[in-house]
Structure formats: structure tokens, C-alpha cells
Subunit: 190 residues, 2 copies
């Protein structure tokens, strides 16, 4: 998606360890026009797949997921991050694994996911894929069908997206970055 | 707003201590059609006020703020909650006071608020008004003008909204609940 690449090149800030900061249009200040264009693109890629729910994870996936909910004309559900160890039994839960970290738990109220659901999971970034894998497992625990994922920026060099594709998960990313060099130069996958 | 009242009466769940749970359409699962209608209503109420930025606070204010950003055709900025005590000097910060609680700090990157900004603060709930007051103070620290607030559900019996109006803040709420009785009955202000 050329418009997104242009935005990243113009407003993205590269930090050490291949960190890309895009808080001027994606995850602090948000350009909702761009989110709507991304939603339209995802809608056209997922045409005919009967998606009836958008699922994301708080916080930074919510704006693009909201735009998708509008374009797909379906509800959005956002999973909540929780530190509570005593969870009520009316939620589905899963742990987002993080190496070198304790990770965190996510929950979705059981009443908002069902075997009738055909879900598009939406998020702002995909790197190692820990959050996405967790959302997929949580959806499966509800008996729902995960039609695929819609990602704004995929860090191809972290390989989470390609691993998921190898496992048969449909992952549609608006841009895939194959490299962020030390001098800040970004290579995008064609 | 009759449609919102109908939704509250149909899907809202009342818990002890006048807690209203509306997670089926506002703050877990979200009905974006309703959010867009609320945004249209706020747009018509704030017509001619030259709002150029929507400000909210993560997490549950984000969906309705996203809808407003689309209708007003301006960016949204969401303030972040932080537990970090050593904040960088490139953020504005303010503490959301909570009695009987330590409260929490919110931050917005300085680059996203300026004296040229004419801000509409949007949130899902307004009760005592602690979060809203904090967002107003943070905006003022940036030299920005707070044109007003747009609230989905105001708990009138908590008096935060009326205090702010007395202080000259324009607060537009889609519904104001004047009472939630023990039997779950809700009285709405005309």
C-alpha cells in the first residue's frame, strides 16, 4: 500500500534495535482517513469470506479495527489485557507469551464470541506474532472460525507473519518491512 | 439521544452501587454504527467551533473518538495511561485524581498538542469528571483551547458534568442518567 509506505518514510522514526515509531499517524495520534483506506483494502482482499466480527487487542489495534468494523459493517470486539489472576468464568482467556518477560493475559467475555463467528483479527503491528497467535487460540477456544488477519505494518524480519502463513493462517499486511538498516533505511517487501 | 437510551435499556446491565455495564455496544464489543451516529450528533452540536483535534484517553474512549475524528475530519490523539515515574521531557503529563486510590498518570507527546489546537475531548463515560478534568488541564498546559467535551453516557448523579458546566466548560452528553434505582430502573434527564 503505497500511501502507507509514504507515510512511514515521511513520519516514521527509526530507533536502535529496528524499532519503528509511527505515533504520529498510527498509535498515539491517529489518521483515521488512512485507517479507513486500510479497512477498504482489507475489505476488498477478504471479499466473499462472510466475516461477521472484527477482533483486536487493546490498545493500539483499536482505531484500525474500528475502521474495519465500519467498512465490513460488523461489530468490533477488543480483547482486554489483564493482570488479575482470579478471572471470572464468563471470559475466554489466553496468555500472550513473551520471551524474557512474564507476558500478559488477555480476555474476551464469552458472550461476545461463538461458534457462529467468522473473525478477522486486526492489529497495528505484527512482529513475532505472539499477540496474534494468542488471539487465534482464544477464538478457537470459543469455537469461532478465524478467517484471517489484517495487519497494518508487518516486521517481516521478525518472521511471525511467515510462520503463521506456513501454518495455514491467512495474514494480509498492508506493508511488510524486510529490513530496517542501522542508518534508518527501510526495505519493503514487494 | 433516543437510540442510545433504547440501547441502554435493552442491553445495559445494572450492578450494585449504580454501576451500568454496557460492554455489548460501548466498551468491549462496540457498535460502530452507533458511534458514528453519536459523532454526527456531536458534529452538529459543535458546528462552527473550528475543532481541529479530538482528544481522548485510552482505552474505552477510543472507538467513539475515532468515529468523531472521521466525522470532524481531524486527527485523534489518545492520552496514554502510564505507571512510569521517570517520564521523558517530551510529554505533557497530568495525574487523574481518584479518592481512596492512588490514581494514575496520563501523558500526551508534546508534538501532538499545540496552542493552535482547538480540542474536543471525547469519552465514553463521565461520572465525577476526574479523567475529563485531567485532560482539560493537560490541554491547557500545551496552550491549546478546549472547545468542549463530548460524552456518550453521563452519570448525572455523580455531578462531575454539572460541576464542569458551572466552571464554564461546555459538556455535551448524549444521555444523562439522573438516577439508577436499586431495582435497576434508570431515570434519564430530559
Amino acid at each position: 500500500m503505497q500511501k502507507l509506505i509514504d507515510k512511514i518514510l515521511k513520519f516514521g522514526e527509526v530507533y536502535p534495535d529496528r524499532v519503528l515509531k509511527v505515533d504520529s499517524f498510527l498509535n498515539h495520534q491517529v489518521d483515521m482517513d488512512l485507517m479507513s483506506e486500510i479497512a477498504e483494502e482489507l475489505y476488498s482482499r477478504y471479499l466473499g469470506t462472510d466475516i461477521n466480527k472484527i477482533l483486536t487487542l487493546e490498545v493500539s489495534g483499536i482505531p484500525v479495527a474500528c475502521a474495519c468494523a465500519q467498512v465490513f459493517n460488523v461489530p468490533i470486539v477488543y480483547a482486554k489485557k489483564t493482570e488479575t489472576k482470579n478471572l471470572p468464568d464468563d471470559v475466554y482467556t489466553n496468555t500472550v507469551f513473551k520471551p524474557n518477560d512474564k507476558g500478559y493475559d488477555i480476555t474476551v467475555a464469552k458472550k461476545f464470541l461463538s461458534p457462529e463467528d467468522r473473525i478477522l483479527i486486526v492489529d497495528d503491528f505484527l512482529a513475532k506474532g505472539y499477540a496474534l497467535k494468542s488471539l487465534i487460540e482464544l477464538s478457537k477456544a470459543a469455537g469461532a472460525t478465524v478467517v484471517g488477519a489484517g495487519i497494518v505494518i508487518e516486521k517481516g524480519f521478525e518472521h511471525g507473519g511467515d510462520e503463521l502463513r506456513k501454518d495455514g493462517v491467512r495474514v494480509e499486511s498492508m506493508v511488510i518491512m524486510d529490513e530496517i538498516k542501522d542508518d534508518g533505511k527501510i526495505s519493503f517487501r514487494n
